[in-house]
């Protein structure tokens, strides 16, 4: 086995950068991250790349491979032809720090804006009782490894920097859905999702679902149900009446 792959790697910083050509050896069963590491250990010791577990569990090595948002550790070299040129660039929706490392702090700011889980006050630790079938829905979203590929690919922010202020993005729509579907969470997440986090700006093109390495059905299982719940609440005349006279919580 073993051949020389043609790699084009983006090198630079927040001000300027360019694609650099490298020929790198590839071994059997290797992934793109292996090739980047080989480059680091030989020709480019200061090539910046963020990575951690190398098993698709930590979500650190997100980048764009031939333009597709991907985890470098889960993209096998044998998915490309041996003579194919492979281009690796940093996540486009976020500012670059250096080379393949992007500044993803946008996501941490958004995370802070979503009120945390609020459990029932009358239950002490150890007294929580929930059915597996009920926790399963939220568990799907808690599989998220925070690679932010869904955030990167979503055209609402990828192509419109100005939307970042009012749009939390798919990662946080599944967080909101997770909390809304948590059997014991006490807060109403629907109004916030629509009015504070820009759920309405999503026009369900399902790009987020397509790039999710955990195969979370972001659009079908989180965004669409949340949109439906928002609509249910907003346009249900009984709920409207209930809320108007202020006697019961709308859910």
């Amino acid at each position: 086995m073993g051949y020389l792959a043609s790699m084009r790697i983006w090198r630079g910083n927040s001000e300027a950068g360019q694609l650099e050509q490298h020929k790198v050896e590839v071994g059997e069963g290797e992934v793109v991250l292996d090739v980047i590491h080989r480059l680091q250990a030989t020709e480019a010791p200061d090539l910046a790349v963020r990575w951690n577990c190398k098993a698709g569990k930590c979500g650190s090595c997100s980048a764009e491979i031939n333009g597709k948002p991907s985890l470098m550790c889960m993209t096998r070299m044998n998915t490309f032809a041996e003579d194919e040129e492979i281009t690796v660039t940093p996540l486009r929706a976020f500012p670059v720090i250096k080379d393949l490392v992007a500044d993803v702090s946008f996501n941490y700011k958004k995370a802070r804006e979503i009120p945390a889980f609020k459990g029932p006050e009358n239950l002490k630790p150890g007294e929580y009782r929930m059915e597996q079938i009920d926790v399963q829905r939220s568990q799907e979203f808690r599989k998220c490894i925070e690679c932010f590929l869904c955030q990167d690919t979503c055209h609402v922010i990828r192509d419109h920097e100005e939307n970042k202020e009012s749009f939390a993005g798919p990662r946080f729509f599944i967080r909101l859905a997770e909390l809304d579907m948590h059997p014991l969470d006490q807060l109403d997440r629907k109004r916030d999702a629509q009015e504070e986090h820009g759920l309405g700006m999503c026009n369900i093109t399902k790009c987020c679902t397509a790039v999710c390495p955990e195969h979370i059905k972001i659009t079908d299982n989180a965004i669409i149900p949340m949109k439906e719940r928002v609509v249910d609440e907003k346009y249900d005349p009984l709920v409207w009446l209930g809320r108007t006279i202020g006697r019961r919580k709308a859910d």
Partner: protein
């Protein structure tokens, strides 16, 4: 205690057993969603060496659930602080991707720490009368490991450099089931849930070989026929458990022996199979993360094919010598340690699942310990500028390296050497060779030179990490050389049996500025009420007659 072959600090084992349930329930109030029983309670399962099914879990990704829950709890505390002060970071600030290079001391006490942002390369001086180490393990000193790049033993090295002790450094856990193929993923963990859920180990003859490897101390707990072992999954009260669920050190050695005897799989492992034992839907439901891992990284469908697995360096039982109740590091006022970087809790071998509960129990205790220490301290030790300057110069030294020595190359050689000479099976002569080679590598590492600047420069990061790995590897090799017996995660071909004389002794390592030295200390004796939890016959396998006599368990 049984899993750690009675080498554990009994007080830590006691605290861990008593406090884990409260910590798990606490996580639920933070929003964690564990798998449920039909009654709606938290579902618990077995891992190797467990007497009762006690692991709260979330499919095969329990660790991720803990990480996310703790991260979200921090955010929730910051939200409370924001409501009160208008500033999310008024009380808790996260310094993500910041590496600490030294613990700073003034008049013998911790006064702060020096670190650098990986992103910007800028230095940060922390003024802090207490520092809690929570840096994890040392796996990156070994070639085949399940650890991430962060497992470079930074905390172990920081403690040594600050004047603390390490203990039990010879005890390293080689997890029996790491991936063995393709090469690029060699070492990546295959979770123990696979065996807990019914996965069995077979050699190239198709034989379930673990039945041949049940050690005498465990015959009471493990089935000796396949029939009994299979019945255990549905009726654990009336059958002994399958030998695939022996503690990890036993399974790892067994796999090693099978491969050495020529009964291995095509890529030098053995077969771990769930496909012939569980329905595909059950496998996908219970082991989704493993199903994806094999499908995507190895083109193996675990619902149809067996996995190939072999031992991988997974966990270090050894760590900073601490006071059990508070996590305070011995000999360094103001330094605390919790989790993998702390030693004593797991003895000579850690059982599956105990790392996560260790973090919860002792993470909290170290935090409380540090906070009480600071309150009692009165005035804060002042940082000394000379200390800061010295630490800065040392962190920047690789930029002034005088040769073309490459940190990546030295690291690669270190990993290969530790795997070959201080690995799963050890011999005196090889370890002596390792200790000599480490001296040469230490010399070479001083001459490593780095190009570029400090901004996100992996070449510089590895140069600093390398110094830590060399220091920790020296502690491992010398501790392993010292202990002349085999126990848990320390197996010597030249001393192949467990020796009760060594049971109450732990090997302590310290650093004098240029060399690691070892000494022996006695473990504190177990109190009678805890010893009474065991069968006398079992204790006789581990303890010396005089130890039993002290417990009032002597005679026949």
């Amino acid at each position: 205690m049984r899993g750690g072959k009675f080498q554990n600090n009994w007080r830590m084992a006691e605290l861990h057993a008593k406090e884990s349930p409260d910590r798990v329930w606490e996580l639920e109030t933070y929003g964690a969603l564990f798998d449920r029983t039909p009654e709606g309670k938290i579902s618990q399962r077995n891992f190797g060496g467990h007497e009762y099914p006690r692991l709260a879990h979330v499919g095969d990704r329990t660790g991720l659930e803990l990480i996310r829950t703790m991260q979200q709890k921090i955010v929730s505390l910051q939200q409370e602080d924001f409501a009160e002060t208008g500033d999310y970071e008024s009380k808790i600030k996260v310094f993500a991707e910041l590496t600490i290079t030294e613990i700073l001391k003034t008049d013998g006490k911790v006064s702060g720490a020096l670190g650098y942002w990986r992103e910007s390369g800028e230095f940060v001086v922390f003024e802090a009368p207490a520092v809690v180490l929570a840096t994890g393990g040392i796996g990156k000193s070994f070639k085949v490991t399940s650890n991430s790049w962060e497992g470079t033993g930074d905390g172990h090295a920081l403690a040594l450099k600050a004047g603390g002790n390490l203990m039990h450094m010879e005890f390293i856990q080689f997890h029996p089931t790491g991936m063995v193929w393709p090469l690029s993923v060699k070492g990546i963990l295959v979770t123990e849930s696979v065996r807990g859920d019914g996965g069995v180990l077979r050699n190239s003859d198709g034989k379930r070989f673990m039945f041949d490897y049940i050690p005498p101390v465990f015959v009471k707990q493990y089935a000796d026929t396949e029939e009994e072992a299979d019945r255990w999954y549905t009726d654990p009260d009336n059958n002994r458990r399958p030998p695939e669920l022996l503690p990890r050190d036993e399974v790892a050695r067994a796999i090693n022996s099978e491969v050495k005897a020529g009964r291995g799989s095509p890529h030098g492992g053995v077969f771990l199979d769930v496909s012939t034992r569980l329905a595909p839907e059950v496998i996908k439901a219970r082991l989704p993360s493993m199903w994806h891992q094999f499908k995507e990284l190895a083109d193996v469908d675990i619902t149809k094919q067996a996995m190939e697995v072999g031992p991988t360096c997974h966990y270090v039982m050894g760590g900073v010598q601490v006071e059990p109740d508070t996590g305070a590091a011995t000999g360094v006022p103001g330094l605390f340690a919790a989790g993998e970087v702390a030693g004593g809790m797991h003895g000579s071998n850690r059982l599956g699942g105990n790392s996560l509960s260790d973090l919860l129990v002792f993470g909290r205790r170290a935090g409380v310990g540090a906070s009480e220490y600071v309150t009692a301290l009165g005035s804060k030790p002042k940082l000394a500028q000379a200390e800061i300057d010295r630490a800065l110069a040392s962190a920047l030294a690789p930029f002034k390296g005088d040769s073309k020595e490459n940190a990546y190359a030295v690291h690669y050689e270190l990993q290969q050497m530790m795997n070959d000479l201080v690995g799963i099976i050890r011999v005196g002569a090889e370890m002596k060779e390792a200790i000599e080679k480490l001296e040469t590598m230490k010399e070479r590492a001083k001459h490593v030179s780095v190009s570029g600047d400090t901004k996100f420069n992996p070449g510089w990061h590895i140069a600093l990490d390398l110094m830590n790995m060399l220091l920790v590897s020296e502690a491992v090799a010398k501790s392993a050389m010292e202990r002349e017996e085999s126990r848990g995660g320390h197996t010597r071909d030249d001393f192949p049996t467990m020796d009760p004389k060594w049971r109450a002794i732990h090997v302590i390592t310290s650093w004098d500025g240029s060399k690691v030295s070892t000494k022996r200390e006695s473990l504190p004796p177990m109190p009678k009420e805890l010893a009474g939890l065991f069968d006398v016959e079992e204790l006789k396998k581990y303890l010396l007659p005089e130890e039993l006599a002290q417990l009032g368990m002597g005679g026949n």
